[in-house]
């Protein structure tokens, strides 16, 4: 594990064409790292994430992605992800191939990836159109070898790189996540490389024995980026900016307003701190 500036961490961990999971379920979404990927002009990425959220709306609209693996792609409580829709409906700014699952299927796929298994298992579903998608590599029904009960098998997901945001890094290089953790731990342990941005570095964690800690030796690189999850949130540090999530609907609705926003707030700033100052969020 190395502690390095974010630009250096992204340059060394994320190559064109890589499969990349920027995880964090509503909470601890690594926006600062995604903006750095946009600034570095990465292309042809296979983006993996249960809930694409604004973070993938931005990466897709900025032309970084060729494929998306996901289970729910909306702006929660607000409406559509307009850039995701534009890519699927009109191939703008480029075509986007989709692999879609249910939440439970994505969860077992990441868990299988983290466990060194080729597939994850669930109890079988009744027939829906999800299994009939053209070119679906997704789901096969197999019998339980002991009981014959029908099970759904979902291929494991093993990203080239998983990127997370977390609360703290300790002096020995371990990473602590608190609050809603989604499938962050599974996504990290399934990946070849793990990049983490953190709110702060501390001497040692004041955490419970069962806290979710990624040991230093499973993490490739850490960058200290206060506010790195904004406009999502970091429990104990700052709340989700629900007003920003609402305002994104109008920003992303048109190509021109989206492009202007990315040019000014992502390409036009040096780093995440500069973005937070520009948005009037930095205290």
């Amino acid at each position: 594990m190395r502690v390095v500036p974010l630009a250096e961490a992204v340059a060394s961990c994320v190559q064109d064409g890589a499969s990349v999971a920027l995880e964090g379920f509503t909470h601890l979404i690594p926006f600062a790292a995604a903006h750095e990927i946009i600034r570095q002009g990465r292309r042809d990425l296979h983006l993996i994430r249960m809930t694409p959220d604004l973070i993938y709306d931005q990466l897709i609209g900025a032309g970084c992605a060729a494929r998306l693996t996901f289970s729910w792609g909306g702006n929660p409580g607000v409406g559509s992800l307009h850039r995701l829709r534009d890519a699927v409906e009109n191939q703008w700014p480029r075509p986007l191939a989709l692999s879609e699952f249910t939440h439970a299927q994505m969860a077992v796929a990441l868990q299988a990836g983290a466990s060194g298994l080729p597939c994850g298992l669930l109890r079988a579903y009744a027939a829906t159109d999800l299994e009939r998608l053209p070119g679906a590599t997704t789901i096969r029904t197999v019998p339980c070898p002991f009981t014959g009960v029908a099970l759904s098998a979902v291929p494991a997901v093993n990203p080239d790189v998983t990127i997370l945001h977390a609360q703290q890094l300790d002096a020995r290089g371990n990473v602590l996540l608190k609050g809603i953790v989604g499938a962050a731990k599974e996504a990290a342990l399934a990946a070849q490389r793990v990049l983490v941005t953190v709110e702060e570095q501390v001497e040692s964690f004041a955490a419970d024995l069962n806290a979710i800690v990624l040991p230093a030796w499973v993490v490739t690189a850490v960058s200290i980026v206060p506010g790195g999850a904004y406009p999502s949130y970091a429990q104990g540090y700052y709340p989700r900016d629900n007003a920003f999530y609402r305002s994104w609907d109008a920003i992303a609705r048109e190509r021109s307003s989206f492009t202007a926003w990315i040019e000014r707030h992502v390409l036009g700033v040096r780093d995440h701190a500069a973005l937070l100052r520009e948005l009037g969020v930095a205290a």
Binding site: Y125, A126, P134, G182
Partner: protein
């Protein structure tokens, strides 16, 4: 002229369907508003679970997303996402799933994937999320959504989540553990599956709504139950509670975020 909106009527009616002590898996939006209204009125011991892994959450304001910090801070416990779907939902520990959808058909199957063809959609919708998992495994499911011929359709553009499939015994013989959708609460009234066919039929209607109006808002020839119940209007306590909850929510969501960056 009533002193409440049709949205309020729908949310209050949805809340009334939940019984105290039930364990409820909550979708975002209208289901979340209804579940919290129930918890703050007649069902104080309703256990609310959101798919973000927050178990037994008691938020003071409505979350905008399924994972707001308010849900985490007021929860009994927070579990990782694979656990909430495997250990709680698939294991059969959920009494009621509460969902919305873009399209529903006469057998309560749901579409949240696309309008139009999958390969060339007119509208790309968010996708499955946890809905297929909840529709399969929750002991029963309640659905709340506004009714129109575009949303209550004869034929789904895409079947994302299974209700009663083709009706009759097709769901039971498919091996789905849960009983499927037991009520659809709309802005006109309540639809429930008929005993044998499992086709949704109108069983209750709101004040001032005619059967003809409900039929006009439905994309298939809607059957009406032999005895049609009249849903009582929202009581002052229900309305006040809902409006206070929404006012608290608006104020909380408008509160500016400040982050210390150095």
């Amino acid at each position: 002229m009533s002193d409440y909106s049709s949205d309020e009527m729908m949310t209050v009616t949805a809340a009334r369907q939940l019984s105290n002590g039930s364990v409820c898996f909550v979708g975002i939006g209208l289901p979340s508003a209804a579940c919290n209204l129930a918890r703050l009125t007649h069902a104080p011991d309703l256990v609310l679970i959101y798919e973000s892994g927050t178990v037994g959450t008691r938020p003071a304001v409505l979350p905008l997303s399924i994972g707001d910090g308010e849900l985490a801070a007021s929860a009994t416990c927070i579990v990782p996402l694979p656990e909430i779907f495997a250990h709680y939902l698939q294991r059969g520990r959920i009494d009621v799933g509460f969902l919305g959808a873009a399209q529903i058909d006469r057998f309560g199957n749901l579409n949240t994937t696309v309008i139009g063809e999958y390969a060339h959609p007119k509208v790309r919708l968010p996708g499955a999320g946890g809905a297929p998992d909840i529709m399969t495994h929750a002991r029963e499911v309640l659905i709340v959504m506004p009714q129109s011929p575009r949303s209550f359709v004869a034929r789904l553009d895409f079947r994302t989540s299974c209700g009663f499939l083709e009706g009759g015994s097709t769901r039971r013989s498919s091996g789905c553990p849960g009983a499927g959708p037991q009520a659809v609460i709309s802005d006109y009234g309540i639809l429930r599956p008929a005993p044998d066919s499992c086709e949704l039929q109108l069983t209750a209607i709101y004040p001032g709504v005619s059967v003809a109006a409900v039929r006009a808002a439905t994309g298939w020839p809607l059957q009406v139950a032999d005895t049609l119940e009249r849903v009582p209007p929202p009581q002052p306590a229900e309305l006040n509670c809902l409006r206070e909850l929404q006012a608290r929510t608006r104020a909380a969501h408008a509160h500016p975020v400040r982050i210390r960056v150095s």
